[in-house]
C-alpha cells in the first residue's frame, strides 16, 4: 500500500449526500489543512424534493462538486467517504476501491453479510484500506476506559450494559425509515456502536444473540415501517454478557439528539462511560425548552483524522472493515432473533 507524497493536498471524495453525516464530514473537510474535497450526489434527483441535496448542498457546505461518481473518481481521489443509503454502500465502495482510493464507509457497513464481505474483498483486491465510521471509539472517555481495562483496573470482565438511544431519524432523510434502504429500524441503527466498543474493549467473539423489539414508540408516525424499540442480549465467548437498549426513545422535542452509555462490570470494579454527557444544561424561555450545550471533543473530527492519516501514510486505520463485518453479524442475528423469537448463533 502506498501513501501519498507529502507536500501536495490529499484529495478526498464524498460519495452521496444521502446520509446526514455527509454534511458533517464535508464541513470538517472543507476547513481541513492539506485536504482538497469534492463531492458527488447524482442520486439527489430521487430524493424527496424538500431535502437539500446535490450541487446546492455542496455549495452551501463550501465544497467542490462533480455531477457523477465517474467524474468524481476520474479526479483520482486518494481517499473516498461513502455516505449513501445503508443498503447502497457496496457499489460505491467497490467503485472507490477500483479507483485506488482508501475508503471510509458510513455505518452500518452494509445491510447484508454478502455485501459487507464483498466490500472488504474489493478493497483487499485493490490494495486499499477499508474503515468503518464508528466515531464513538475515538471518544476520550472510551479511550480512558480502554486503558483502565487493559491495565486490569476492573479485574476479570464479566459483562456490560449499553444504551444508544436517539431521536427517531425521521424528517431529515426519508430513506431512514424505509427498511429497504436503511436495512431496518432501531436494531440496525443503534446496536453497532455498542457492539464496536465491546469489540475494541474485549476482542471477544460474539456467540449468541437474543433480541426483542416493539413499535410502541412513534406508533403515530405513518412513515415508520420498522421496529422503534429493541432490547438485545449478546453472549460472548468466555461467558461475557452484554445487554443493549438500541431504542429510538429520545423524545422528539428533547433538547439533545440522545446519547450512548456503556457500563462495564469487572470482578474488581465497575466503570461507566457517557461520552456525550459533557454539556452545559439549562432552560430557555425562547422556545420554552431545556438547553443542552455539548462541549465534548468532536469524535467525527478524530475519526476523520485517523482516516486521513491512514490515507496519507498507507496504514490500516481502525475501526476497520473487519469490525464492520463482525458488528453487522450481531445486527443480522438480532434481526433474525426478533423475527423468530429464538436465540440465534452469530455467523
Amino acid at each position: 500500500m502506498s501513501g501519498v507524497t507529502s507536500g501536495r493536498a490529499l484529495r478526498v471524495g464524498l460519495m452521496s449526500f444521502a446520509h446526514v453525516h455527509a454534511a458533517t464530514y464535508a464541513r470538517l473537510l472543507a476547513g481541513w489543512p492539506g485536504v482538497e474535497v469534492r463531492a458527488a450526489d447524482p442520486d439527489a434527483a430521487f430524493a424527496s424534493a424538500d431535502e437539500l441535496r446535490g450541487r446546492a448542498l455542496a455549495a452551501s457546505l463550501g465544497v467542490a462538486y462533480a455531477d457523477s461518481y465517474e467524474e468524481l473518481l476520474a479526479w483520482k481521489p486518494d481517499a473516498v467517504i461513502v455516505t449513501s443509503e445503508n443498503a447502497r454502500h457496496r457499489p460505491l465502495v467497490e467503485a472507490a476501491a477500483a479507483a485506488g482510493a482508501a475508503v471510509l464507509c458510513e455505518k452500518p457497513l452494509a445491510t447484508t453479510r454478502d455485501d459487507a464481505v464483498a466490500m472488504q474483498a474489493a478493497c483487499d483486491a485493490a490494495g486499499v484500506t477499508l474503515m468503518t465510521a464508528y466515531p464513538v471509539r475515538f471518544s476520550p472517555a472510551f479511550v480512558r476506559l480502554r486503558e483502565i481495562v487493559e491495565a486490569g483496573g476492573l479485574g476479570a470482565l464479566l459483562g456490560a450494559t449499553g444504551t444508544n438511544n436517539g431521536q427517531i431519524p425521521v424528517g431529515e432523510r426519508a430513506w431512514f425509515t424505509d427498511p429497504a434502504l436503511s436495512g431496518g429500524g432501531a436494531l440496525v441503527d443503534h446496536i453497532v456502536h455498542i457492539a464496536d466498543l465491546i469489540d475494541a474493549l474485549t476482542g471477544l467473539r460474539p456467540l449468541t444473540v437474543r433480541a426483542a423489539t416493539n413499535r410502541i414508540l412513534h406508533a403515530d408516525k405513518p412513515q415508520v415501517r420498522a421496529e422503534t424499540g429493541g432490547l438485545v442480549t449478546v453472549g460472548y465467548e468466555g461467558g461475557f454478557v452484554v445487554s443493549i437498549d438500541c431504542s429510538w426513545s429520545q423524545p422528539d422535542s428533547a433538547p439533545t439528539w440522545g446519547g450512548l452509555t456503556l457500563q462495564v462490570v469487572g470482578a474488581a470494579g465497575i466503570a461507566e462511560i457517557d461520552p456525550f454527557a459533557q454539556h452545559v444544561g439549562g432552560f430557555t424561555e425562547l422556545g420554552k425548552s431545556g438547553l443542552h450545550l455539548g462541549y465534548g471533543v468532536d469524535t467525527d473530527e478524530l475519526l476523520l483524522a485517523a482516516f486521513l492519516d491512514g490515507a496519507r501514510r498507507g496504514g490500516q486505520p481502525q475501526p476497520d472493515g473487519q469490525v464492520g463485518i463482525r458488528t453487522l453479524a450481531i445486527v443480522l442475528a438480532a434481526q433474525e432473533s426478533a423475527r423468530t423469537g429464538l436465540v440465534v448463533d452469530v455467523d
Binding site: 479485574g155 426483542a212 410502541i216 414508540l217 422503534t228 437498549d245 423524545p251 462490570v265 474488581a268
Partner: protein, 341 residues
Amino acid sequence: MRSVRTFVKRPPLSIGLIGAGGITHTHLPAWLELGASVTVFSQDGAAELAAKYGVSWVESLAELLANCDIVDVCTPTPTHRGYAEAALLAGKHVVCEKPIALTRADADAVAALAAEVGRQAFPAHVVRFFPEYARAKSAVEEGKIGSPAISRFSRIGEYPTWSAWFGDDHQSGGIVMDQMIHDLDIARWISGEVTDVYAVKSVSVSAAEPCVTAQVTLTHEGGALSYVSGVWGAPGTTFATSFSIAGSQGVLRHDSRTDASLRLDSGPREKGGGMRPDTSLGESPYLTQLREFANAFAGGEPPRVSLEDGARAVELAVAANESIATGASVSVVRTVAGIAA
C-alpha cells in the same frame, strides 16, 4: 396548639419479629416508630438485636406466637414458608421478606393457607415504597409518558459476603431471586403482566474476587419490553439504583447517584458498600411499607403489593434462572384463571 382531630383508636401493634439479620435493622426501628411493641425470636442474635432496640426476645417460636398479633418473617428465604405457615395457623397476619419463597408452589401454599385461615399476608417488596419508584408508577398511571415501551432498571451492590446464605444459590436463589426480584416486580408493576423471560448471567471465576452480574429481559403483554440489570460487585462497591422508562409520549429517568439531595466528600474513609440505599433524607420506605401493611391488617385499604404480586415475582425470577440455565427464552404466560399454563 393541640390538634382537635379525633384519632381512630386502634389497639397497639404487637409484632413478633423472626430473624435478626440485616433487614431487621430496617424493620424493627420502623415498627417502633409506628408505636408497636416488638418481640424477637431468632435462631441466632435475638438477644443482641433486642438489646440494641430495647425490646424483648423469646427463645421459642411458640412463645413468640403467644405474644403477638402480627408476625414479621425476616429470615433466610428457605425458611419463609415454614414460619409464615406457622404464623397463619396461629391466627396471625404475616409480613414476609422477599422473596416469599424459592418456588411458585411454596409461595402459592402460603397464599392458600392465608385465604383458608382468613388472615392477611404481604410480601415486603419494599422498592414499591421507595418514593422515586412510587412517583414513577403514579406518573405512568397519570399518562405522563403515554404507553410504556422500553424500560431499564439497574441495581448495583456489594457482593453479600457478610452472610454466607446470600451467596449460596440453593438458599437465596442467587442474585436474580434475591436482588433483581425487586426490579422484576417493579418492571411488572409499571409495564404490566409478563409473557416471556430471557436472562443471562456471568460469575467471577475467582473466589478471591466474588462478583456476579445478570441481565433479564421481560416481554410484557401488549409488547412493552423491560430489562433488569443486577450486579453484586467487588467489596466496597457503592450501592446504586437507576431506571429509565420510555413511553410513547415521554421518558422518566432516575439515578440514585446523580439525583441525591446530599453528597458528602469528607476525605479518606471506608468506601461505599452495603446492599441498601441511603434513605435517611425522607421517611424510611421500610416504615411506609410496614404502615401500609399494618393499616390493611386493621381493616384498611389493601396495600400496593399483594401476596400474588410476590408470588408472581418469584415466578419471574424462577423463569429467569431457568433461562440462564437453558440459554432459551422462557414463557410465563398465565391463563385467565391466574394459574400457570
